[in-house]
Symmetry: C2
Subunit: 208 residues, 2 copies
DNA sequence: GTTCCAACTGAACCTGCGGTACAGTTAAGT
DNA sequence: ACTTAACTGTACCGCAGGTTCAGTTGGAAC
C-alpha cells in the first residue's frame, strides 16, 4: 500500500499546520508582525494555498483563538478529571488539580509558549467586536469553572478569612497569565509552574 | 507676556508627546501595528520631525521601555515611601503599600492602560538582545525590591508556612501583570486592583 | 474513463510602510 | 547678529504586505 506521503499532499492536515506555525509566530512577535509570507514558507505551501483555508488574515486570528480556547478547556477537563479520581474532597481535588496543572506546564518542552488570550487582549484594537467577545467569554468560562470548584470547597471548608470567590476564581487565571509574562520576561521556563504552586499554597492556607 | 502657545512650538515636549501617543497605540495594537505615519498624525508633526527625535523605529521602542521602567520605579518608590511613613512594622508597610498600589491603579481614569513589559515580552522576537535584556532587568529589579521588603517582613514575622520568598516576590509582579490581562480581556477596569488586594490578603495570612 | 471536487499553484496587483535626502524655516538663547 | 535646536515640506524609494483569480492536480465516485 502507498505509505502516507508527508510532503506531496497532506490530506486535511494543512490547515492545522498553518495554524500551528502561525500560533507560534503570533505568540513570539504579535499578530501584525506575523506575515502570511512567513507562514506559507514555513508550511511549504503558496500564498494562494493559505487563502484557500482562510478568507483573510482576520479569519486566521479568529480560528486561532477558537482553537486555543478549546484546547485549554480540554486541558482543564483533563486535569480536574484526573484530580477528581484521586479524592472526594473538593479542597483536595482543587489542590491536586493545581499540582497537575503545574506539572503539565513544567513538562512542556520549552516552557509554556504563551497564551493567545493575553496576546489578543494586548492587541485588541486589531480585531473586531466578535474576536474581542470570544476572548472575553473564554476567560469568563475559565473563571466560571474555577468559581464552581471554589464554591464546593468553601461549603466543605469555610474559609478562614472572608474572600470574594469571584476574585479568587479570576486569580487562578490571573496567576497563570502573570506567570507566563514572568516566564517570558525573565526567560525562565520554570516561573509559571512555581507561581501556580504558590497560589496552591495560598488556597490551601485559606480553606483550613 | 506671551502666553504659552500649546500648538506652535512645544519647547522640548514633543518627544514626550510622541512617546505618549506611541505608548498608547503599542499597548492597544502591538508595536509592529503602530505606524510612524499614525503617530506623527496624532502628534501633529511631520515624519521628518519624528526622525529628528528617533533614529529609527526600534529607537522608539527602546526609549518607550526605558521610560516606562523609570516611571514604574517612581510609582513603587512613592507607594513604599508613603507606606513607610505610616508604620514601622515591615508587614504593615508592605500591606499599606499594596493597598496604596491598588488605589493608584483603581484611580487611573480608564483603568491601567497596560504594561509595556508584558507587550515587550509577548513580542520579543521583534527586538534585539539589548531590549530583551532591558526588559529582563526591569522585572528583576521589581522582584529584588519586593524580595527586600519580604525578607524584612519574614524576619519580623516568621511565615506560618514555608514559602520561597523569591517566588513570592515574583508573584507581586505576576499578579499585577495577570490583573492587567484580566482587565483587558474581561473589559473590567477594576480587576487589577481586586487582584492586588487579594494578594494582599494572602500575604497578610502568611505572616501571622 | 469521464466527471467532480477539494486542495491547492502561479502570477500579478496595489497599497502602505519604514526610511532617506535635503533644503528651508522658526524662535529662543547668547 | 549669530548660533543652534527643533522642527517643516517635499519628494522619493524599495519592498513587503494582503488580496485576487484563473488555472492545475490528483484522488474518489459513478
Amino acid at each position: 500500500m502507498a505509505e502516507e506521503s508527508e510532503v506531496i499532499r497532506s490530506r486535511g492536515g494543512t490547515r492545522e499546520r498553518i495554524m500551528d506555525i502561525a500560533q507560534e509566530a503570533v505568540l513570539a512577535k504579535g499578530f501584525e508582525a506575523t506575515s502570511i509570507d512567513e507562514i506559507v514558507a514555513a508550511a511549504r505551501i503558496t500564498k494562494s494555498g493559505f487563502f484557500y483555508h482562510f478568507s483573510d488574515k482576520t479569519a486566521l486570528a479568529r480560528a486561532l483563538l477558537e482553537r486555543y480556547l478549546e484546547q485549554e478547556e480540554a486541558i482543564f477537563d483533563d486535569v480536574f478529571g484526573r484530580a477528581a479520581e484521586l479524592s472526594d474532597d473538593p479542597l483536595q481535588i482543587l489542590l491536586i488539580a493545581l499540582k497537575l496543572l503545574a506539572e503539565v506546564v513544567e513538562n512542556l518542552p520549552n516552557g509554556h509558549p504563551g497564551c493567545l488570550v493575553a496576546t489578543t487582549a494586548y492587541q485588541d484594537r486589531l480585531f473586531d467586536a466578535e474576536v474581542r467577545a470570544l476572548n472575553r467569554e473564554g476567560v469568563a468560562a475559565w473563571s466560571a469553572r474555577f468559581r464552581g470548584h471554589l464554591e464546593a470547597v468553601a461549603t466543605a471548608h469555610p474559609p478562614t478569612r472572608p474572600v470574594n470567590l469571584d476574585d479568587l476564581a479570576d486569580m487562578v487565571t490571573g496567576v497563570c497569565e502573570g506567570g507566563i509574562v514572568l516566564q517570558k520576561a525573565l526567560d525562565d521556563r520554570t516561573a509559571m509552574a512555581r507561581q501556580i504552586l504558590l497560589l496552591r499554597t495560598f488556597i490551601g492556607m485559606l480553606f483550613r
